[in-house]
Subunit: 250 residues, 2 copies
Amino acid sequence: MDVLETIRLHRSIRKYEKRAITVAHKEAILRAACNGSTTGNMQLYSIIVTEDKEMMLRMAPYHFNQSMAINAPMILTFCADFNRFNRYCACRDAQTDAYNNLQSYHWAFTDAIIAAQNACVAAESLGIGLCWLGTITFNVDKFIEVLQLPENVIPVACIAFGYPAETPELTDKLPLEALVHHETYHNYSDADIDRLYYDKEHHPNTLQLLKENNLPNLAQIITQRRYIKKDNEAYEQVLIQALKKQCFMH
Amino acid sequence: MDVLETIRLHRSIRKYEKRAITVAHKEAILRAACNGSTTGNMQLYSIIVTEDKEMMLRMAPYHFNQSMAINAPMILTFCADFNRFNRYCACRDAQTDAYNNLQSYHWAFTDAIIAAQNACVAAESLGIGLCWLGTITFNVDKFIEVLQLPENVIPVACIAFGYPAETPELTDKLPLEALVHHETYHNYSDADIDRLYYDKEHHPNTLQLLKENNLPNLAQIITQRRYIKKDNEAYEQVLIQALKKQCFMH
């Protein structure tokens, strides 16, 4: 399928047919994932394929039992990975502690997300639906344990894949001018915010959310119900501890 | 162009025709960038378009004067951006400090790289070449200054785009089995490393590098010449200071 059309038709798919991803489709997705740009061609990522139901159910609570984490035929977890490269260095009398820092973590993080997004575009071009599970960075310590990740490996993205059993509407997005700046960043006046968020605030999905949450606007729903300061800060501590344990922070 | 074929043919392009990216192509790239998955549909990224030569030349030293940073007709810098969302919250009597932490930074980082990779795949499908400039996270403080990024905005990816004036070979990559794990992570024995790196170590590009660097293997070239511990740790400090200045770290 054509690239621009595939990307234009992107939406999160949360309900899947029961059947497994075919071997050919799985291979195409993984090959696409592993052919993106990477820092210095070091390929600083690993992909963990979850298809075993028992493994899925062990991880589901850490994904807050979202239905996608339980019912998807395949979950891919993308890890920032300096372990393999360090193992290579160890086998070649090269330094093995040059990348135990937050700068190097950024390179591996980037490599992993590039791979993840390549996997997503490839999957969608094959008619496979997907949904990102942001919970991977919330409960990162638990996923490190269950997936048996060694030092220098941190899971940064997790995506559920399956043949779609629903066709939701396309997601509402901010207009391009809200996201794009020319030459330098131009900060947003109050009037800019009103204008750029107008369509989103008047979208039927948003109006439905306001009713369900009994709150006056989307900003308050997100800050008071969805991504709450106290929780974010607790998950920040979990993440920092994991970065330390995995040797990317001191 | 077909997705799988576009991704299979990916290679970094470092030499570009002089002509500008057409308006239609630029619009297609930006639209694709802005249609990826994002955390809670908050779209936590901004894209800075650089086409002005003066701006390019101001930034070039911080990209170590790589030719792509000087000669590309267009550079896109992708930023993890909580500023716009916080501005929206401020305009709606919602909390504006819920996302001043490293956990929330991870969401915005992820959103920005998804957007960047969508832009890359879209561009390549249109016959436009590109090269990532990893230098963006090395000299992040300088880019924040030149691009006039407010608090809660950090540049995380930078990509030079142009119509290709070269057709390099496809990049050598590790075999799929080096990158993919099933159910749990399986660490690499010395024998695994020898086997999985065999093709890369015997690739003509690698043999050429060994000759040029007068070093016995690729691991030593990378650790002693390319990404050196002392430099990585200095750039780590720059990054940490920037994360603090932009309110994502305490």
